[in-house]
Point group: C2
Chain length 408, copies 2
């Protein structure tokens, strides 16, 4: 009667800018039988996960915990908890995910100011700082690593300038956390959102965030304890946050010692996240960043040696995403389809003005390893030759192997 | 250097009203290596999951898919996508989760009307229908199964009355889906939210929902395609939905044939949900409902035979939650602690006016099986005797075994 079969999925080599291959240890952790949400062993794991997240974010912030949703849920939780109607928000846009910040801020009734640069460029930090001083926003929201263009916005001067001007600096580090340094305290960032399904090698479905006491003060003024569990002391003055699910003032009370019931924590995802950040710390942050740089270099050298051109070989390149210009006369989607169908390899196209113009290859987390880099280089060559491209055959793999040899 | 250990969790017998034990087949499915979000094999699984969800919801609705968040994310997605500022919403409240509906509706700027009855009671359907006619709301939002009180609100007359009055009937079936009949089409419910971590035996972290074309018409009028991926045709008139993450008009375009990128689907959670609903359909809906009734009966008979009193032995009892009055002089939390510490069994306390007055035992999904029911009965007896309660020792297990014998 029931014709649905057990899962039987192919194994893929996933070389997109996310989601990427999940570390097998994370998958194992996720097959662990669950605990109840208030089981002391489970709340202990929640606390441990917070501790480990602080290390990954390089912060001493009290608050570092996941939102139960995909990466953009973390962005929305922060922006909707901080922005009140009419608040000015400045958003520098250099790719698709800058637009997402405006989408979310707009729906929270912010007065939005944007500055733009070409997709493929980033801003001189001074340009952003000047605009910040001119607009004097409550919040400056900016993407750290734009996977849509393979570019990374430097932030080390922007954070301190915001602090000095008493502007809140909120950063989307979904693509960079765990693969590239994200120095929350050193750069004086007030709130940062990370992603699980990229450099942490955990499936999509949670969004680790961190924020400091500057953000917490706003939360406290807008706090509202849920009816049905509130006590007489729980009366606050400010306009409540427009989402219950994303209300960080309530989520704090669930992740904090009060342990006020909000949602039921996503047990299995938390197991995965805990294992994912544990593995990051076990490898060591610096060793992990170095590993990502090494495989990026091998990939770039291999791609260039076979005669393809890079789109983002710039000083502001996002190390974990390498973008390749699609050669004239080549159908980018047909190439991707053949890579998937015949090699089981997935790479990405792009969005908006770059759609059809570049391929994007991710080297993130568990996917970022030698055999994957070598396989994607050889497969690209094979597929492109099959599509009639003129390449320096045989050169790509040798160039990549040279990088690995010289690294030993 | 890194002192964090591999996960090493105790095995528990989880007899709360959720989260409950996850079916081992679901855990296995969740350890499967992931696919990319636009891999055709993965989008095929998304479609299959939609098909299976329709069967579980007993509906022909086009839309049935999960929200990537815990159960309340599904409630918020529906209410925030449907409610525009000033819309009248009627909410009958008979326990904690009715209050949650008001929390969410309030933050969407609804004009809220509530009616109340004692915790432990439900409404005569006529009372709700009369109030609905008097208030004439846009939306009637109601909880189907209140885990906080162990009561279930009949809906078979409310749905048709709403349809006739052109009122949208939105139902929180988080606790009932997969354990108790939820007849979306027959009862003429316009939108229904299910939960994963209760009778579906999937971890918390997704919220399957379904809705019909009456809801879809509202979504269409409020639609907004995200900047960065919108085309010139994508211009709509209505006030946009106040959340990007929960914007069902965008989620539809991701789950539908247009496959517009929104979030990155929570791959592993989807594997779990797919396996969970597959198992439900393999067992068969009626057989599953019968199983839940059988174990409920064994538990109730066992509890009564040992001399304890039930709080919710009423015709409107929620079959999957059995509430026990805490005997005079017994410390309810000390009993729960000893059950957990010495037997590895988790049962629940309650909220608000019932806190400290009742224990709640869930018989849901994979936790709802004979050995668990027998174990919790014998453990309750042992712990209560240890706490000085006067019980009919030895009678509880025999009464439960009698139920199982007579069922054979």
């Amino acid at each position: 009667m029931n014709s649905y079969q057990e899962m039987n999925t192919p194994l893929r080599t996933i070389m997109t800018p996310g989601p990427v291959e999940v570390d097998p240890r994370v998958l194992r952790a996720m097959s662990t039988p669950i605990l109840g949400q208030f089981d002391p062993v489970f709340t202990g794991m929640m606390n441990e996960t917070m501790e480990m997240l602080r290390e990954v974010f390089q912060t001493k912030n009290k608050w570092a915990f996941p939102i139960d949703g995909t990466s953009r849920s973390g962005i929305e939780a922060l922006l909707s908890s901080v922005i009140e109607p009419g608040d000015k928000v400045l958003i520098p846009i250099y790719g698709r995910f800058g637009h997402l910040l405006t989408e979310i801020a707009e729906r929270n009734k912010a007065e939005i100011h944007t500055i733009h640069c070409e997709w493929g460029e980033v801003f001189d930090q001074e340009v952003i700082i000047e605009e910040m001083k001119r607009v004097n926003p409550k919040v400056l929201a900016v993407v750290h690593g734009e996977t849509s263009t393979g570019c990374m916005q430097p932030l080390d001067q922007i954070g301190p300038a915001c602090r000095e001007a008493d502007v809140l600096c909120v950063v989307d580090a979904v693509a960079t956390i765990g693969g590239v340094p994200v120095k929350v305290d050193e750069w004086q960032l007030d709130a940062v959102i990370g992603g699980t399904q990229k450099c942490l090698s955990v499936p999509s479905g949670m969004a680790p965030i961190t924020y400091n006491e500057r953000i917490e003060r706003i939360l406290f003024s807008r706090k509202k304890v849920e009816k049905g569990i509130a006590t007489a002391d729980d009366v606050y003055a400010g306009e409540p946050i427009q989402s219950n699910y994303f209300d960080l003032s309530q989520l704090q009370d669930y992740w904090g010692p009060r342990r006020l019931n909000h949602h039921t924590e996503a047990t299995t995802m938390l197991y995965g996240l805990r294992e994912g950040v544990r593995i990051v710390l076990q490898e060591g942050l610096q060793a992990r960043f170095d590993r990502h740089k090494l495989h990026e270099k091998a990939l770039m050298e291999g791609i260039k040696a076979m005669g393809l051109e890079l789109f983002n070989e710039v000083s502001w390149k996002l190390p974990v995403v390498t973008c390749i210009k699609i050669p004239d006369g080549i159908d980018g989607d047909a190439v991707r389809k053949m890579l998937l169908d015949q090699f089981g390899i997935e790479i990405a196209s792009s969005f908006g003005p770059l759609h059809g113009k570049i391929w994007r290859i991710g080297t993130m987390g568990f996917s970022c390893r030698q055999e994957n880099v070598l396989f994607v280089i050889s497969a690209m060559e094979g597929v492109l030759v099959r599509h009639g491209a003129q390449l320096n055959t045989g050169k790509g793999l040798q160039a990549a192997l040279d990088v690995y040899d010289s690294a030993e």
